[in-house]
């Protein structure tokens, strides 16, 4: 199968859905003429024109509100927030309006919109352009949250998100944009709420999201040489969450390490740990549930500090080794 990048997979999903469904359009800052801050929508203006590729002023709240309103009257907008950091500005429309309206109107209206946004550190973009806020939105009933880790997942999940009748926060990781993987040319859906076992193993389960899936895969390769057989579960969507796949994996291995980039306190790892502890997997645990996550600091500008602020491959190896050998 052909290989394309994560970035191209996202673009292909948007392009194919716009070709299929005239209600789908793109709205955001610098997405048209400029092609997007990460060039995700590069060339799309030429293909679809100004009517369907809408450049807006710098107003995250305004463009999210416009997308919400368009969705309410039957369009299927894809809004792009250039950096996840600025979803804080968009959150009133997203959290208080988009997430609520279907419920408040008793299902008589729906809000079929996608809010795409790149998250994560690693580009030297410092405090305001590096954050991972997924759990802010996981906390809101009425929103769905997708977080693909591979080009294949990015395309399939984005198509499902566009076709879904609920607002979906679609989180792309900046460092994954250039990664390549096999992606079918035809459109396909990956159901929201279906985790993927990225690597099968028997000694311990790593549950990781986004870039941490990739780092965990690298860690697993090295751990395999030590005889430690790691299973990697990628939830792919945080809400809805595929608890069954997670619980089954933990029941199999009895040891679980949760890895995400977002700050540990209040992060999604706490939710995962809670789900596991409440489930029948509890009785299969051989060690405490461990979390490896971002440190309790803003993402620093200094590259060394930036690297130290989030889990790296060597951190995952060390923690996984401790867990596998029951040192914790």
């Amino acid at each position: 199968m052909r290989e394309i990048s994560y970035l191209e997979a996202v673009r292909e999903a948007m392009t194919q859905e716009m070709e299929r469904d005239p209600r789908v359009f793109l709205i955001g800052e610098d997405i048209g003429e400029y092609g997007g801050a990460f060039q995700v929508s590069y060339g799309m203006l030429e293909e679809f024109g100004h009517e369907r590729i809408l450049d807006t002023p710098i107003t995250e709240l305004g463009l999210t509100g416009a997308a919400t309103g368009a969705a309410l009257i039957g369009m299927r907008p894809i809004a792009e927030i250039m950096f996840m950091d600025f979803t804080t500005l968009a959150s009133e429309q997203l959290v208080n309006q988009a997430a609520k309206l279907r419920y408040m109107f008793g299902g008589q209206s729906t809000v079929p919109m996608v809010l795409r946004t790149p998250a994560g550190s690693g580009t030297g973009a410092a405090e305001h352009h590096s954050q991972s806020f997924e759990n802010w939105f996981v906390h809101v009933p009425g929103l769905k949250v997708a977080m693909p880790s591979t080009p294949y997942d990015a395309k399939g999940l984005l198509i499902s998100s566009i076709r879904d009748n609920n607002p979906v926060v679609f989180i792309e990781h900046k460092l994954l944009y250039k990664t390549k993987g096999e992606v079918p040319e035809e459109p396909y859906e990956i159901p929201l709420g279906q985790a993927d076992i990225k690597r099968e193993g028997k000694d311990l389960t790593i549950i990781a999201t986004a870039i941490m899936v990739k780092k965990s895969q690298e860690a697993a390769e090295q751990l395999a040489q030590e005889g430690i057989d790691v299973e990697i579960v990628d939830p792919r969507t945080l809400r809805p969450l595929d608890t069954e796949t997670i619980v089954n994996s933990v029941k199999k291995t009895g040891k679980v390490l949760i890895v995400h980039e977002a700050v540990k306190t209040g992060g999604f790892g706490g939710e995962l740990a809670g789900v596991i502890a409440e489930s029948e997997a509890f009785g299969y645990l051989e060690a405490p549930i461990l979390r490896l996550a971002g440190r309790e600091v803003p993402i620093p500008y200094n590259r060394n500090l930036e690297r130290a602020a989030v889990p790296q491959v060597e951190d995952i190896i060390e923690k996984a080794r401790q867990l596998a050998t029951l040192k914790v």
Binding site: E286, A287, L326, V328
Partner: protein, 440 residues
């Protein structure tokens, strides 16, 4: 250097120990490993070895004193060595605050990194006590961390640490986790430890034990073994047997049970009625309801009757407290409850504590008569045999067949003279043969 002798922790749930006897006195020469002290927990009396070689000094706990574990109770000094400051508790309490202030000043002069200082402060670590490894003798964060680790209390043997998987496996396999050795961090029991556990070797039970196997002396079996040995070896037992005509006892019990049936209450067991009658008799014989503790014979105010209950893996003695003051109905209900819970392994530690006299009944096995070992620190135990129909000569020289039971009292002969025990036994016989005396 002065060696501290502390009140040791010998039981899992022990918080204090009672000094029973010093085998060496102040100023005597002692050798490391030599037994110099006898202490007692609420379960067991135990010999304590000297922690060092030298002269025993500064004994601050006397026989009968109840001392928290870990408390220094004496020192072993070298020739010519002085007792450390504050060796005697009372002196330490009265010490003025001046040295403390001076100490504080010294602490602030210790060279330490700012992080180390802050950490030490928030963990109440005295920087003076932290070995420094940093440049120029500075105390570093790592040093303070090490000190904090040292301060952490060690996991007590009483806390069972097991992974959820191990607990689940144990539940499924019916393994008693307290018998399993944990191989995880801090001795945590892992599922694999439970899987590889050999129940036949580990569980001291008469059921399922095959001849030719060896069973380690652990858990309840070890406690029983130690206590029986200690009691039998240290207490001179004296025994008195009496045969009792149970005719009226049986009659009274039947009357009670008719009443109980009418009222819809539970049955009054033989044990319950025995507990009541023994307790009433004991109230007139305080010496039989006493304990020898150190140099004192303690006469107990309450009469708390322990009832030995046989279990598959050993035996346990739940206690009916204040039995002399309770009515037969209350005693019957309490006895039924305790025995039921004893057999289902659901007794709490308070259920088995505080006994002052024990009754053990092997009558159901048809044993006519036997001698029991005293449940130390109690002063006596009553062994109850089977009820048998026997031919008896009545006072009017007539011959009759009567239900007869033999009771044997074992008493601590150090504190109970033969005549004292005999009077109790005679009174007990009279009360058992005329149960109405219990309320007379």
């Amino acid at each position: 250097m002065a060696v501290e002798m502390i009140m040791p922790k010998v039981d899992m749930d022990q918080e204090t120990g009672t000094v029973v006897e010093w085998l060496k006195t102040e100023g005597q020469q002692v050798t490391e490993g030599e037994i110099i002290l006898v202490i007692e927990t609420d379960k067991i009396a135990i010999d304590v070895e000297s922690p060092g070689t030298g002269i025993l000094q500064g004994i601050s706990a006397q026989p009968g004193d109840v001392i928290p574990i870990g408390t220094v109770i004496a020192y072993i000094l070298e020739e010519g060595e002085e007792l450390p400051e504050g060796a005697v508790k009372t002196q330490a309490a009265q010490a003025s605050s001046a040295p403390a202030a001076q100490h504080l000043e010294e602490s602030s002069r210790v060279q330490a990194t700012p992080v180390a200082k802050k950490m030490a402060e928030s963990h109440n670590i005295d920087l003076l006590t932290v070995p420094a490894t940093g440049k120029g003798g500075k105390v570093t964060k790592k040093d303070v961390q090490a000190a904090i680790e040292l301060e952490k209390p060690e996991t007590s043997a009483g806390d069972l640490i097991a992974s959820p998987a191990a607990r689940r496996t144990a539940r499924i396999k019916g393994v008693d986790l307290s018998l399993v050795r944990g191989t995880g961090p801090g001795g945590r029991i892992q599922a694999s430890d439970v899987e590889s556990f050999q129940p036949l070797i580990g569980t001291p039970t008469a059921v399922g034990v095959k001849s030719g196997e060896s069973i380690p002396l652990i858990g309840m079996r070890r406690t029983i073994a130690e206590r029986m040995t200690a009691s039998y070896q240290t207490i001179p037992h004296v025994q008195f047997t009496v045969s009792v005509d149970m005719t009226k006892f049986i009659q009274v019990r039947e009357d009670y049970n008719k009443l109980a049936l009418e009222r819809g209450d539970g049955k009054i067991s033989v044990t319950a009625l025995l507990v009541k009658l023994v307790a009433m008799t004991l109230s007139n014989h305080p010496m039989l309801n006493s304990s020898l503790v150190g140099d004192n014979i303690v006469l107990h105010q309450d009469i708390n009757i322990g009832v030995a209950v046989a279990l598959e893996k050993g035996l346990i003695v739940p206690v009916i407290k204040n039995a002399a003051k309770k009515g037969i109905r209350a005693i019957a209900d309490e006895t039924n409850d305790l025995v039921t819970r004893a057999r289902s392994d659901q007794l709490s530690s308070t259920d088995v504590k505080g006994g002052t006299f024990t009754i053990t009944n092997l009558g159901p096995f048809g044993i006519e008569q036997f001698n029991a070992i005293i449940n130390s620190p109690e002063a006596a135990i009553l062994a109850v045999g089977a009820t048998q129909q026997e031919v008896r000569a009545l006072p009017d020289k007539a011959i009759a067949i009567r239900p007869v039971m033999r009771f044997t009292l074992s008493a601590d002969h150090r504190i109970i003279d033969g005549s004292v025990a005999a009077r109790f036994v005679a009174d007990l016989k009279e009360t058992l043969e005329n149960p109405i005396l219990m309320n007379y």
